[in-house]
């Protein structure tokens, strides 16, 4: 793949006026106490607000509501059935960023859920028990269908069993086999596609009363593919020095629309077109990423990160990296909703159901540890990283089990030492700023020492 820097000036659309203005504002570091943002972040925020409002009025507008998970989500199919998707993980992480997850988790534990289990589940159960008020403050509609696309995480299964017991609604289960040997076989593809045809689509149609038009679905998938091209370009821009983006803390915003309800929409396509322009402009100016405290002045470390972020202290966590001049140039978390950078695009296979099957099978946590090691090692090499950090989460066995072994393997393959920290998704009791700061700083100092002595 070509380095984006060579394409930047040639291909990028000139940034629209509001973007240029946004860029000039953020150069003044720490000029005001307000958080610095890309213009694309504001656009995304508006998209989300509109969507949650649409959800809040789903009953009046007669739209049916489908709950589903981010990895292996069938957003285009849900759209083709005329329904609206709700993503419980996103609700949980949004609650955490708004400091509300603590109460929800405790509520779930009060209801008998164990301290040992996944905090996403507990946050969701607690939110439901507290009136199902979503992150934007509007009440979330109950599901008409639970679409259990069970990809790369067993807890999803238990999670929707619990919800189904609460709501007593229809549930459709899609079993996505695991890529234990790093390959997708024809049997696996056909198994998934057949379940789509015989289980998922009939239940969607039953709930919405609307026939799924496969041609319309194919069109939505192709539109997703175009947005995915732009996303990949953006993620790839981090190969430049300095990187114009942070591919983890910033990256979670960049993947927001494409991992959730917007994939396949014109809004989504437009968002990624603009985002690409914004990043291209930064690249042309040789500017570093926009971080909450401003544009990073000096890129001192280039880091690859494995594992989801902690959401309850997202900005504090980011700040530790920012203060040390550490930019995340690639991350695995931004691949949980699809490994687009490895070539997959929606609509690539002309058969829309096989295309969706390929998508589900290819999500990051559905890959074997060996494949994950290879991916992380290639990130370290291809993005010229000085180090890699594993943020290991108490909640998420799918990610966490084996990370210590993976770390040693990546070290062996790249010669770069790994850093290891432990936090949680949305349970603030498992995040200690002093502890994490100590480790990250120690790690980066070690990296600096190695760089100096090299």
């Amino acid at each position: 793949m070509k380095l984006p820097i060579t394409e930047a000036t040639a291909n990028a659309a000139p940034p629209p006026a509001p973007l240029a203005r946004a860029a000039s504002q953020v150069v003044q570091r720490d000029a005001s106490p307000t958080v610095q943002k890309d213009a694309s972040m504001d656009r995304q925020k508006a998209m989300l607000a509109g969507y949650f409002s649409e959800l809040a009025h789903a009953r009046e507008t007669g739209r049916k509501v489908v709950y589903t998970f981010v990895p292996g989500n069938l957003t285009e199919l849900i759209r083709a059935a005329g329904a609206l998707g709700v993503y419980p993980e996103v609700n949980a992480l949004q609650s955490a960023m708004r400091q509300r997850s603590d109460g929800f988790v405790r509520e779930a534990e009060r209801l008998g859920h164990n301290e040992d289990v996944c905090s996403y589940v507990k946050c969701d159960v607690g939110m439901l028990a507290s009136g199902n008020i979503g992150p934007t403050g509007e009440k979330l509609p109950p599901p008409d269908l639970l679409l259990l696309s069970y990809t790369g995480c067993f807890t999803f299964l238990k999670w929707f069993e619990l919800l189904q017991k609460e709501y007593g609604c229809e549930i459709a289960m899609l079993h996505v086999p695991y890529q234990a040997d790093g390959t997708v076989t024809e049997d696996m593809r056909r198994y998934v596609a057949k379940q789509l045809a015989t289980e998922v689509i009939p239940k969607l149609e039953k709930v919405t009363g609307r026939k799924v038009d496969l041609d319309e679905l194919a069109e939505l998938l192709r539109r997703s593919g175009r947005a995915e091209d732009d996303l990949v370009w953006v993620l790839d821009s981090a190969k430049s020095r300095p990187s114009p983006i942070d591919a983890y803390f910033g990256g979670v915003y960049y993947v927001g629309p494409i991992f959730t309800a917007f994939r396949g929409t014109e809004d989504c396509e437009g968002y990624y077109h603009d985002l690409r322009g914004e990043v291209a402009a930064r690249l042309a100016r040789r500017e570093g990423p926009v971080m909450p405290n401003g544009v990073l002045a000096e890129e001192r470390f280039r880091i690859v990160v494995e594992g989801p972020p902690n959401w309850t202290h997202f900005r504090d966590f980011w700040r530790i990296f920012y203060d040390e001049g550490a930019v995340v140039v690639a991350s695995s978390y931004t691949k949980v909703g699809g490994l687009y950078d490895q070539g997959f695009r929606h609509g690539q296979d002309r058969d829309p159901l096989l295309s969706l099957a390929d998508y589900c099978l290819g999500c990051y946590t559905n890959h074997s540890l060996t494949a994950r090691v290879e991916l992380l090692s290639s990130y370290v090499r291809d993005f010229g990283a000085d180090g890699f950090v594993i943020n290991s989460l108490k909640s998420c066995n799918s990610f966490s089990v084996g990370q210590l072994v993976m770390m040693r393997e990546v070290e062996k393959r790249t010669g770069v030492p790994g850093g290891f920290i432990e936090t949680d998704l949305v349970d603030p009791r498992y995040y200690s700023q002093a502890n994490i700061k100590n480790r990250i700083e120690s790690y980066l100092q070690m990296i600096a020492q190695r760089k100096a002595s090299a």
Partner: protein, 446 residues
Amino acid sequence: MALFVGIDLGSTTSKAVVLDEREGILGKGLTNTRSNYEVAATVAREEALDDARLALLGRGLAERIGPETDRLTAELRRAWVVSRCVERLHALGARVAQNAEKGGSPTDAKAVRSLFEAIEGEADRVFAPLAEDRSRFFRDVVSARFFADATEAAQRGALSYEAAVNAYDQAIVAVENEEAPLPAQARIGTALARARLEPKERTLLEDAWRGLDEKALEVGRYVGTGYGRQLLPFPKEQIRSEILCHGLGAHALYPETRTVLDIGGQDTKAIQLDPKGLVLNFQMNDRCAAGCGRYLGYIAEEMNLGLHELGPLALSATRAVKISSTCTVFAGVELRDLLSLGERRENILLGLHRAILLRAMSLLSRSGGVNEQLTFTGGVAKNAAVVHELRALVEEHYGARTINIHADSIYTGALGAALFAKRGGGEGLPVAKRPKRAAAAPPVGS
């Protein structure tokens, strides 16, 4: 010539090491961290600088009088430590009496004053051990003595034990947190007067003191490390992580070290080094403090033992009881459970020590194992049972390996920091803020 100072602000103790330009250790300081890192840093630094001053004095003297120097400087050092303790004793005594007075009991205040006078009368006997044993602090010694005396006085009816202890508890915290050591120049007189020396010898030392080159005692650079390092008033370039400092310090003590295991109060670290002492990889314990020094602290409390008694007791065990959890939260429960089943205390203790080492072994394995010499540092390295288990487990899992444990291993981090101060770039002398001086009584004889 200038000095280079490393300060290691640990969660339980704070250490300082002073190096000369040839990276030789001139002085060391050690204090309990209390709840105030800033004071702890100042106390450790001043002690180390005083130590360095006495070392330089010794060097000068050795050129003139040769082998006799050691005896003279040892005696001066002893007297110096005692004098410093007496300074603190004064501040403390005044504060306790004042508290007793505020508590509305002039009788108690009076009794307290006479208790402190009595301790001061025996100052040489009471405090001299501190010059030798650096693991004990002023607070330990004076508290033990005061409580004993107060009990006895209360039995005589001379004071109310409760009032005295209350007054004392408030005072010791306050005094420790506002402690500012006297400048060395203000102490040398008392120390020389206290030293048991011939008049001729005293004159020799006095001359040597006057002859000290103050320029040689200027600090060229500080580097700070340790859990509380962020609180040091140093610019960022002069802060190094414990990992780097322990690595470099261990390498300085034992150049063949390739692996360092440090078990401190709050965390355990396994560090892999290259032949130059640079860190190749490291691992720290996970969030919970299970298996760290603090765990032994809980156990000691639970068994009503002193921390230093644990190791020897464990070594007298006949077998190790299996302990399933090194969780500090469950330690007490499991302990009581085992005791109630009639298990011998020694055997339980050996099991506990083994459990700690099993966790440490996992960290070592995570960081890359023990392939060559291992250096064991941190407060827990003083525990003989831990050392014994470590040797056995390393041999079992990695074969025969040299395990280094330095008598001064507690200073490893500070030594590494001092080495960074010596070698590190960045010019300029940072001005470490000094806490405001305590309003203590002037030292005797000044």
